[in-house]
Amino acid sequence: MNNNNKYREWYKLDNSAKIFPEVSTRKETNTFRVQVVLKEVVDPDLLQQATDSILERYPMFKVRLKTGFFWRYFDYNSMPFSIEPLNHMVCGGLSPKDNNGYLFKVFYRHNIIAIEVFHSLADGGGAYMFLKSIIYEYFVLKGYDISPDNMILTKDSLPTIEEYEDAHAAYYDPKNHKHMPEKKAFGIKGTPISGDLVGLISGTVSTKKILNLARANNATITEYLTAIIMETIYITQIKYREHLKQNQKPVKIFVPVNLRNHFPSKSLRNFSNFIKSDMVMNRSDITFEEILDLVKKQFKLGLQKDELIRKMSENFAFEKNIFLRLTPFHLKKFVMKLGYSLMGLSLNTMSFTNIGRVDFPESMIPYIDNISAAVYSGKFNTLNLGIASFGDKFKITFTRSIIETTIEREFFRKLSELGLDVEIESNYVEVYQ
């Protein structure tokens, strides 16, 4: 790559990225993990080499967070990046002062290669592209005969502008940004795990079988699992206590939507929105069918193009406001913090990230065993869910910031009742200390 063709050296934070640095703490880390398990033990030296070489291809990741007079920005990071052995923290905080300023981490342990990414940098879609590229380069260094098949960005290709633009700006509609006020959601209460630790319980089931189950109910996997989760929350947290005040709040499951599937964008940064299920569960006779019907209806409405653009523009209008733009950063930070504490987290009961089926080129498939995703859990969203599938391995990963495992237990018991063989993994956070 010659010097004239050099990529830009700094980037504005994209629209959804702006909020995260202001509201992230050690408890609310706003990071997520994507993990690939290989069929062989990972060689750390080669992984380090692979990461170094691919970072040049992903200039958006080779940055540190800096504060300007009006906004924060990502500045080129000249420090070296180093991979780490996986530690006990799941989605721990990424302080801009540690880690040489990098806002992501690459971990290895036995067969596992995992990356944890601060949400300002990229969303799940962007992070997966990055992890795929690392693994591709790793296999190349290992000497395997593989080809990218146009599914993977390799270190020899050149970064393009579309990968780094703020895709929200491209699809923003200035006429369609009405703000819709929302009610606070029901929150799952429990005993906090001390020391900001996060518990992880992951279950593996057969992709084929769960797909058949969803189809038998005329639903997609996301709709079907959302309904199961809502029923589980209802049974374990609300049923027979419907009259209590805190149980009048609606149960809302927040499901991120990858907008790259809805708009032709190649962005590697944040480009996602959400759909939500929303149901007040203050009756004693709620059935699964009733929940599933409602979820299907609400997701269908939420996925309409108009609605997606409205939600995107609602946030983007904030950035367009000239008075806000000209406000000095520290004042803006205060406003953002206030706004977020008033209406951010408490609007969701739980977030449910569906990465979906992860594709790899045919030639790489024999080396990979399974893939999973996890999101952080904090003070209000005490339990979150991430799913991903690879081949016939469908991984359902719960992360929690409370000791209680009631919902996970009932959820997996329900899956085995439905005839699925469930294999569990856990980080056994209870024995930490």
Partner: protein
Amino acid sequence: MKTCDKCHISIETNQKYCPLCHQTLKGKGDPSIPEVYPEFVATRREFLPTTKKILLFLTITSIIILLSINLFYPDGTLWSFIPIGGILYFWVVLRYGILSKQNIAFKMAFLTTILIAILNLIDQNYGTHQGWALDYVTPFALLACNLAISMIMWIKRLNYRDYIFYLLTIIVFSLIPLILFWFNVIQIAWPSQTAFALALFILLFIIIFFPKSIKDEIKKRFHI
């Protein structure tokens, strides 16, 4: 592979209980297979906690002693504020100079600014020969800071990106003593003139030799 006959799940672990229901697992584990997720390793370590407590204890007691002597045996001045200022500056140096992970240019610019502020406060309120802080200390401290940051940038070229903003700030500050001289606040000219001359020299050097880095830095810092 172990199983839990209550939850009907299987799990590969050497732990004895089911992570879902916390009841005993059935079956035998294989100790040769490592756990999927790692053990707990304490990572966050407080920096010298006992030393910090001793220092804090000494600081608070000495401030109280100084204040009490000063107030119980009054001699018309609040002289105790001078050593107290010194002690507080020590903490600032510890917190922002030594323990902070900020880059060195920020540390120097920040500590110099605080030092100048403290010394000027002392000068304004005490002493027989007033004006020394503004006349001599302020310009020379700025000059030293200017020189230090530029030298570090010169030696560690790679990091000019991170440092240039603080250098620019200190250069702008260096213009202040000369302005004060124009308004007759400062009586002695040559320290301010020296500081201003060096600042101007460095500024011109950057503008002529690295025009792009200055432009980029301003664009970055002030983008709306």
